[in-house]
Every structure is written in structure tokens, then in C-alpha cells.
């Protein structure tokens, strides 16, 4: 399933300034596209628009076309959009229903809301856990999980809705390095195994260097650069848009500046993900 935005503009309810303007982008099944940009660039807005929550749940004015598997989001109710495109936020705690005593119940929350037969609910929960490799958490108390585990449970809850596309708004920003790695691996796995179309907003450009095929730079509501991940993340004017280049790139530049560039083998830098 694909996610396609064409000439999308968006303005929040009652606001005079536009949050997004002329945004066009397309994510194919199995593809991971990264989004970077300074604060207030409209990255979170882009996520809400792509998932159909804007204008569906928060109002506002949408221009252009947002197609989820061929259907316009403005024609979808929030619960219908949720089954086509899932969304994950940065805070693992606020994404828990708060009413489940086990991870199983937590993940079952979504399918149950759809009124599916009990057998199918169980099947979806087990499948979501298996895809993310966290079947061992099934009986744990959701309130006692580590940040990374909780975020994965939140991801499983969203996947249980069987969306073809997924939007992630800085999913690792509140996690420690271990949690970040967990979530990063899970995302890569989703794209390759389930063929989910993934749009991920991140400040950790090193993570994007590893996961994304393409990267888009958003600034003041517009796309100012796009292309293959390696190219975009290596661009010299990245910092001008308030984005920090991946460590590997910074290291390489520092080495070049100090004249040691040719001493370090290209292969070594590849290991770093440059």
C-alpha cells in the first residue's frame, strides 16, 4: 500500500499562517523515507496529515491530495484512516490505553474496537508481537516496561490495525541507545517483511542513514531538498536547515579538514554508515 501526497497545504484551525505548503511526496510499499528539518518546520504536521488525523480529528484546512492506497484521507473517518495508515508518537507512556493489565490486552485494544471476532483479535495480537520479535512480552504489565519495550508495544498496537503505511514522529527521541536500536531494527524489519510504506521523522540522522532509502528536508512547511539518503545527509548546507549530519559524516569531514582524509579507508567509513 502506498502513501501519496500531492501539492499538500495545511493550516491549523483558526490559524492564519500555513503549516505546510506545496508538499508532494510518495512512499512506495516497503520503502522507508526519512524527514528532517528544524523545529517548527511542520514535520509533526506532516505526520498528522499523512495519517489522516488532520483534518479528520483536529480540524483545519487541507489543500491538495493525500492518498492512502488510492483513497483521499478527507473522505475517511479517523478509525478508517487508522486501518490504512498507523502513527507512532515519541512518548511511549501517552500511547498506552491505560486500561490494560497485560501487553496482550493493550495490543488487543485496537482490534477489539473494530468489533472483530475474538479469534481474529488473538491472531492479530500474536502476529504483531511476532513481527516485532517481542512475543515474550505478552503477559507483562504495560506500565512496567522499559522505554524501548513500551514503544515497541505501542508500535505493535498500531500494527494490529493492519495498516499498509506507517508514520513515525520522532519515535526514538525519548529512548536510550538500547531502545533506539530496538525500535530501529523493528522498523527496518517491518519494511522488508510486511512491505509497509514508512515515513519517519527523526533528529537522529545516523538512524535515518541506516534505515531510509530517501530523505526529505522540510523547512518552514516546504520541502527544500530531497534525494537518496546518502546524498542528502552529506549535503554541506544541511546545517543551514537546522539539521545535524550523521556522526560518520561529521567525522569524515573533520578528518578531511585535518588532512587525514586519505589515510582512512573508505571501507572503514562504510562501517560507520557514512
Amino acid at each position: 500500500m502506498s502513501l501519496a501526497l500531492t501539492e499538500v497545504g495545511y493550516r491549523y484551525a483558526g490559524a492564519t499562517a500555513t503549516a505546510l505548503e506545496g508538499v508532494s511526496l510518495r512512499v512506495e510499499p516497503g520503502q522507508v523515507i526519512g524527514v528532517v528539518g528544524p523545529n517548527d518546520a511542520g514535520k509533526s504536521t506532516l505526520c498528522l496529515v499523512s495519517a489522516g488525523l488532520a483534518p479528520g480529528s483536529i480540524g483545519g484546512r487541507l489543500e491538495g491530495s493525500v492518498l492512502l492506497d488510492g483513497t483521499e484521507t478527507r473522505e475517511l473517518k479517523p478509525y478508517e484512516a487508522a486501518q490504512r495508515c498507523g502513527i507512532l508518537f515519541q512518548n511511549p507512556a501517552t500511547q498506552q490505553s491505560g486500561t490494560a493489565s497485560t501487553v496482550f490486552e493493550e495490543i488487543a485494544f485496537g482490534p477489539r474496537n473494530l468489533g472483530l471476532a475474538l479469534a481474529e483479535v488473538v491472531e492479530r495480537v500474536e502476529e504483531a508481537l511476532a513481527v516485532l520479535g517481542i512475543s515474550g512480552l505478552i503477559a507483562r504489565d504495560p506500565h512496567r516496561l522499559s522505554g524501548g519495550e513500551a514503544q515497541l508495544v505501542a508500535l505493535a498496537s498500531v500494527i494490529a490495525m493492519r495498516p499498509g503505511a506507517l508514520v513515525l514522529d520522532e519515535p526514538t527521541s525519548q529512548l536510550d541507545p538500547a531502545g533506539t536500536r530496538l525500535v530501529g531494527d523493528a522498523i527496518a524489519h517491518l519494511a522488508t517483511t510486511l512491505g509497509t510504506a514508512i515515513l519517519i521523522v527523526e533528529h537522529k540522522t545516523s538512524l535515518l542513514a541506516r534505515l531510509a532509502q530517501e530523505v526529505v528536508v522540510l523547512d518552514a512547511g516546504r520541502i527544500v531538498a530531497r534525494g537518496a539518503a546518502a546524498t542528502v545527509l552529506d549535503a554541506p548546507d544541511l546545517a543551514a536547515h537546522g539539521v545535524r549530519a550523521p556522526e560518520a559524516v561529521s567525522i569524515r569531514r573533520a578528518l578531511e579538514l585535518s588532512g587525514l582524509g586519505d589515510r582512512v579507508a573508505a571501507a572503514d567509513l562504510e562501517v560507520l554508515g557514512a
Partner: protein, 236 residues
């Protein structure tokens, strides 16, 4: 059943109603070995009971059968009786609810209510509120401790205690409210507003006897309350 007994405790005036309920409650509690937790609930009613006893005994308006005089205050017999009745009512009520809350796991209660059609929004509100309270109490305790370290007075004069209120309420409220928007979007992403009938996860065992007993209790409650309120039947 507990709800019925609570209603009876209140509506039936004079002595017999509350006394009977109290006996029932204590009996149930001992069967279920609930002694200690029940005691905690009972202790919570002490300030109320003390107030009731004192104010009613000494200050019952219009009573003249004086028992004892302490300074300008006169304890009256009528007052004492009224005090005891009120106390019994309150204690019976509080303990009935206590037994109910101690014997019924929240999860099961909510699950069953939902199955009977209460609606996912109501269930969510109740379940979420009950779950949020302990977490907020913890947060409040943390804030109080942090403020105490900075000099907040919880024992001093009223005005000092009042001043300590803002540093407590502020962070607690803003912290809780800031999450509401994201929480509601997460709920939408999990299909919360879908129109379908929510799938039931667990089924509580029920039997014809239990069902019959329930109907009987409801009927009895209605009859007793009506009889007492309309004065048809005079109970001691």
C-alpha cells in the same frame, strides 16, 4: 448486592435498617477475610463520625432532656440518639461500599458492565480514571517531597499551608493536561471511535441462582426504601 445494602442503609430511618446492614456487612467481611482492609475504610470515617457525634449530641436544637453539662454546652438525650443514628447510617453506608470495592476486582466489574452494554466510552473513562489516580498520587507525593526540601510547610499555620498549594497543584495539573491531546490521537489511531460493538475478552461465570438472587435483592430494596420513605411501615 452491596449497592442495595448501601441504599437501604441510607433510606431506612431509625435504628433497624442501618443495624441490620451493618451486621450483614461485618458478616460478609469476616467470611471473605477482609478484616484489615475494611478497618482502614472504617478509620477513614472517624473524622466524620466524631463530628457527627459531637455536634449532634451537644447542639441538637430544641432538645431539653439534658444529660450532662460541660461549660456552656449541654448534651441532650435526643441529640445523642440522633447522633448515633446518623453515625450508624454513615458507617453502614461507607462500609457497604468498602466491601463492594474490596470484593470486586475493577477489571472484572468493568468487563462485565461493558459486556452488558455500558458503552466503551463510559468504560474507558472509569477504567482510566481509576488507573490514573494511583499514578497521580505518586506524582503528588513526589512534588510535595520536592517542595518540602525547598521549605514547604505542611504543618504550620493555615496561611503557610495555603501558600504551599500552588507549587503543588501547578506542576501536577499542567503535567496531566499536556498529555491529553496526544493521548486522544493515540486512541483514534487505535480505532476508538469505530461504531462497531467492542469484542468481549472475558466472560464471568453466572448462574440462574445468582441471577434470581440479584432480582430478589433489587425488588426487596425498592420495597423497603419506598415503605420507609412513605411512612407506610414503621420500623423501630
Amino acid at each position: 448486592m452491596a449497592l442495595a445494602s448501601a441504599a437501604i442503609a441510607f433510606a431506612v430511618r431509625e435504628w433497624s435498617g442501618p443495624l441490620a446492614i451493618l451486621a450483614l456487612v461485618v458478616a460478609t467481611a469476616s467470611i471473605a477475610r477482609l478484616g484489615r482492609p475494611l478497618l482502614k475504610f472504617a478509620l477513614a470515617t472517624i473524622p466524620l463520625v466524631a463530628s457527627i457525634l459531637l455536634v449532634n449530641t451537644f447542639l441538637f436544637p430544641g432538645a431539653t432532656d439534658v444529660l450532662v453539662r460541660i461549660g456552656p454546652f449541654a448534651a441532650t438525650g435526643t441529640g445523642l440518639i440522633a447522633a448515633f443514628q446518623a453515625t450508624l447510617r454513615v458507617v453502614a453506608f461507607a462500609l457497604s461500599v468498602a466491601v463492594f470495592s474490596l470484593t470486586t476486582p475493577t477489571d472484572d466489574l468493568l468487563s462485565d458492565l461493558e459486556r452488558r452494554g455500558l458503552g466503551r466510552r463510559a468504560i474507558f473513562i472509569i477504567g482510566s480514571a481509576i488507573g490514573t489516580i494511583p499514578r497521580m498520587v505518586e506524582r503528588a507525593a513526589e512534588i510535595i517531597d520536592a517542595q518540602r526540601a525547598r521549605g514547604l510547610d505542611t504543618e504550620g499555620s493555615p496561611s503557610r499551608r495555603a501558600r504551599g498549594l500552588v507549587p503543588l497543584a501547578g506542576p501536577m495539573i499542567s503535567g496531566a493536561l499536556s498529555e491529553v491531546e496526544e493521548r486522544s490521537m493515540a486512541l483514534e489511531a487505535r480505532g476508538f471511535s469505530a461504531p462497531a460493538r467492542r469484542t468481549t475478552l472475558r466472560l464471568l461465570p453466572d448462574s440462574p441462582t445468582q441471577r434470581a438472587a440479584r432480582w430478589l435483592i433489587v425488588l426487596a430494596t425498592i420495597v423497603l426504601v419506598a415503605a420507609s420513605l412513605t411512612g407506610l411501615v414503621r420500623l423501630p
